[in-house]
């Protein structure tokens, strides 16, 4: 593999990412399944990097899941998005930072639609005025929060406490990166590095000392997609996509998987459990699973935050093997204890029982 070829493509696909003063919109799934991710994202941006991020309690879901499942019509989602832009305008911001990749796809899709079809923009202005009385401006810059971490990866590297290196062997960790479909596949120019060889997570991982694994099914969708997995009987179809990825990455013995889309993280994490129960297969070393992390959790780990504060115990696949490799200290007793040392419950065991 010639990495220079990739670097040339990354050089060609550069994207404008705003410097400071962001209006933050949260993700439905990331909040629920990876509870500390967004908290630590805000902490890193505000406390470590000194940026101004506005976390607005008044915003709602972008309704992307509903839109992609044909439950929410296009006019409705345009108005919901317009309301968020109105809230942003009222708070005095111009830069929009989106936590979820699907949302990012929705905001990009709608703003592009408004560019090509200005009549839709006018219709939406009228709809928003009628329903809420608000007015809005289209943001100057819409970025995904992984783009922000990518942009400031150097600053984070300066304050890094742990490197992405296997302390026992001294070699960089073999990390698989998985970028959400709606990040770059719809508008390749809106993704750092384009659609074929995305750079947003690769850049972070390499900056912090790790090594990225390129495996044949790297580009393949994890199967999330909304439409197909909403009905329980269809989930085998979604699952087959993740399984394809796992089978393809197994020979490389990866140490961890990093995703920027909350849906992908959830899928790749939880499907390993389902596959171990139904097929008896695990894909990590020594019969365990491969830890799946969000990029905020990864940034938090390298900056030295407590893994249990970062919410790693909420993941289906245990992250301890990764923590041990990195030489991060953690208290196993405190894993399932909350802030007041109360027991908070735990996921089912990942190791195959077949």
């Amino acid at each position: 593999m010639k990495v220079q070829g990739k670097r040339k493509i990354w050089h060609d696909y550069q994207k404008e990412i705003a410097d400071d003063h962001y209006y933050y919109v949260r993700s439905c799934i990331r909040q629920n399944f990876f509870p500390a991710s967004e908290y630590y994202f805000l902490k890193i941006l505000k406390d470590v990097l000194g940026k101004d991020v506005f976390d607005d309690p008044k915003h709602t879901t972008c309704t992307g899941i509903g839109y992609h499942a044909d439950i929410i019509p296009f006019e409705t989602i345009q108005t919901v998005v317009a309301r968020h832009f109105a809230l942003m305008t009222e708070a005095g911001y111009k830069n929009f930072a989106v936590s979820c990749v699907t949302s990012f796809g929705i905001y990009s899709e709608i703003t592009e639609t408004w560019k090509e079809f200005p009549e839709e923009l006018e219709k939406t202005r009228i709809a928003l005025k009628k329903s809420t009385g608000r007015e809005f401006k289209v943001p100057a810059n819409i970025t995904h929060t992984s783009d922000l971490i990518y942009k400031f990866k150097g600053d984070i590297a300066e304050k890094q406490v742990h490197e992405l290196i296997n302390k026992k062997t001294g070699k960089p960790l073999q990390i698989i990166e998985h970028v959400g479909c709606h990040y770059a596949k719809i508008f390749p120019s809106k993704g750092v590095g384009g659609a074929e060889f995305p750079n947003v997570l690769t850049g972070m991982i390499e900056e912090w000392g790790g090594e990225v694994v390129d495996y044949p099914e790297r580009r393949h969708c994890c199967g999330f997609g909304f439409r197909q997995y909403l009905v329980q009987g269809n989930r085998g179809y979604s699952l087959a996509n993740s399984k394809k990825k796992f089978e393809s990455m197994k020979p490389y013995h990866p140490d961890a998987i990093i995703c920027n889309c909350p849906g992908c993280t959830m899928f790749l994490d939880k499907w390993q459990y389902v596959l171990s129960e139904t097929e008896g297969k695990t894909y990590g070393a020594y019969g365990s699973g491969i830890p799946v992390l969000t990029y905020e959790e990864l940034a938090g780990l390298v900056l030295g935050y407590n893994p249990w504060d970062l919410g790693l115990q909420m993941h289906q696949v245990d992250s301890e093997p990764l923590l041990d490799k990195m030489g991060i200290e953690y208290d196993p007793e405190k894993k399932y204890l909350g802030k007041k040392d109360q027991y908070i419950g735990q996921p089912c065991n990942i190791v195959a029982s077949l």
Partner: protein, 112 residues
Amino acid sequence: MIDFGFTLSETRTIDYEQFDGRLLNYVLQNEPSFLTCLSCGGCTATCSAGNLIEFNIRKINLLLRMGEYEGLAREIDKCMLCGKCILICPRDINIRNVVMLIKKGIVKYKNE
């Protein structure tokens, strides 16, 4: 085992790695003109059986070249051996012989 309420979808990709070439090689050795088939579909268009039941001789020949033998034994019996396909083939392939060889080959390799 837990019942999750769904079953894993099977792949429908032709995986060229899982190819048992014995039947194909038998046919090709005995009817080498079959190598020049370009899947024009003329044979299927004129086929006596194919215009009444679901029998696609072009597709059967193509799938044979890919090593996809599933259901081949049942399908190939639908051929009426009328020979119309030979009349139209622009590459002069003796398709009737290909069918006979497939039948012979299936019996030959069934027990191996």
